[in-house]
């Protein structure tokens, strides 16, 4: 930290030191609270990653199916089956997410 040369800088330093001094006497939360915070944040991160992965795979799967349908000239029921599959996957993801939320509240 640079040494102040002017009166306004000394006043600034003094005022901010006084503000910072109020925190210096506090103690941080205990280690257990930090471990819990780290676990919660990392769990949420993993859940978000899984969610994104499922979304990506679903979208990729649908695109692939649509491409196959167009390329191989499958009948219309293939398209209906594809829609049903997408609906089932979305329901499974929603069900899994709800289960995760329930578990985190217990």
């Amino acid at each position: 930290m640079k040494r102040s040369a002017e009166p306004w800088e000394r006043s600034l330093r003094e005022g901010l030191d006084a503000l910072a001094g109020t925190v210096a006497e506090e103690s941080p939360p205990d280690l257990g609270a930090f471990i819990m915070l780290v676990s919660d944040v990392q769990r949420e991160q993993r859940r978000a990653l899984r969610r994104d992965l499922v979304r990506f795979l679903t979208a990729a799967g649908l695109i692939l199916c649509a491409w196959l349908w167009a390329w191989l000239q499958f009948p219309v029921y293939f398209l209906m089956a594809q829609g049903a599959l997408a609906f089932a996957m979305a329901a499974a993801v929603a069900w899994a997410a709800a289960g995760g939320r329930r578990a985190s509240h217990e």
Binding site: E9, L12, E14, E26, P28, F34
Partner: protein
């Protein structure tokens, strides 16, 4: 245990190491945020957000700067996000009154009037003054943290300092 060892373990996925690392740096981050936000309640909230962001991004810490500097960068961005998100310039100005009870021993009238003038500056104008003249960071570092051009930082510091000098009757212009 040193920061480096804890960082390595934290990056390998050891939650206890990361928790210990954050606990060590909790008060310095909070202290820093109090000096830039002038508000203990806000500093407390932003410290929490900074810790959460650090947990999410610990894998991206490459050791180019000290861990404490990395945390301060995150804290500064959290504060700037808060400013932008909430657009609380007016409310922040109303927080001046909150600062007085923070001091255990009231500072001299000169310091009090300077602090009032500092808090009356637009928040994004006060921040570079504090970073430059209290923490001693370079214009380039401040520009990088605030994601604004160096020229803008210089101009904000110049204008801020001129206001503070005027407040203390030291304006030579």
């Amino acid at each position: 245990m040193g920061d480096l060892d804890l960082i390595r373990r934290a990056q390998r996925g050891d939650p206890a190491a990361l928790a210990a690392l954050l606990q060590q740096h909790y008060l310095p981050v909070k202290k820093y945020l109090v000096t830039i936000a002038f508000d203990r309640g806000l500093a407390e909230d932003l410290t929490q957000e900074t810790m959460i962001r650090a947990i999410q991004r610990i894998g991206q810490f490459q050791g180019r700067s000290r861990f404490s500097t990395w945390l301060m960068t995150i804290a500064t961005r959290q504060y700037l996000d808060w400013l932008r998100r909430e657009k609380r310039e007016r409310q922040a100005a109303a927080r001046v009154a909150d600062v007085q009870p923070l001091w255990q021993a009231p500072p001299s009238p000169e310091v009090q009037s300077l602090m009032a003038a500092l808090q009356a500056l637009p928040r994004e104008g006060a921040l570079p003054v504090v970073l430059k003249h209290y923490y001693g960071y370079t214009y380039e570092e401040i520009a990088e943290w605030m994601e604004i051009p160096v020229g803008t930082v210089k101009s904000r510091v110049f204008n801020g300092v001129r206001t503070l000098r005027r407040e203390l009757g030291q304006d030579e212009a």
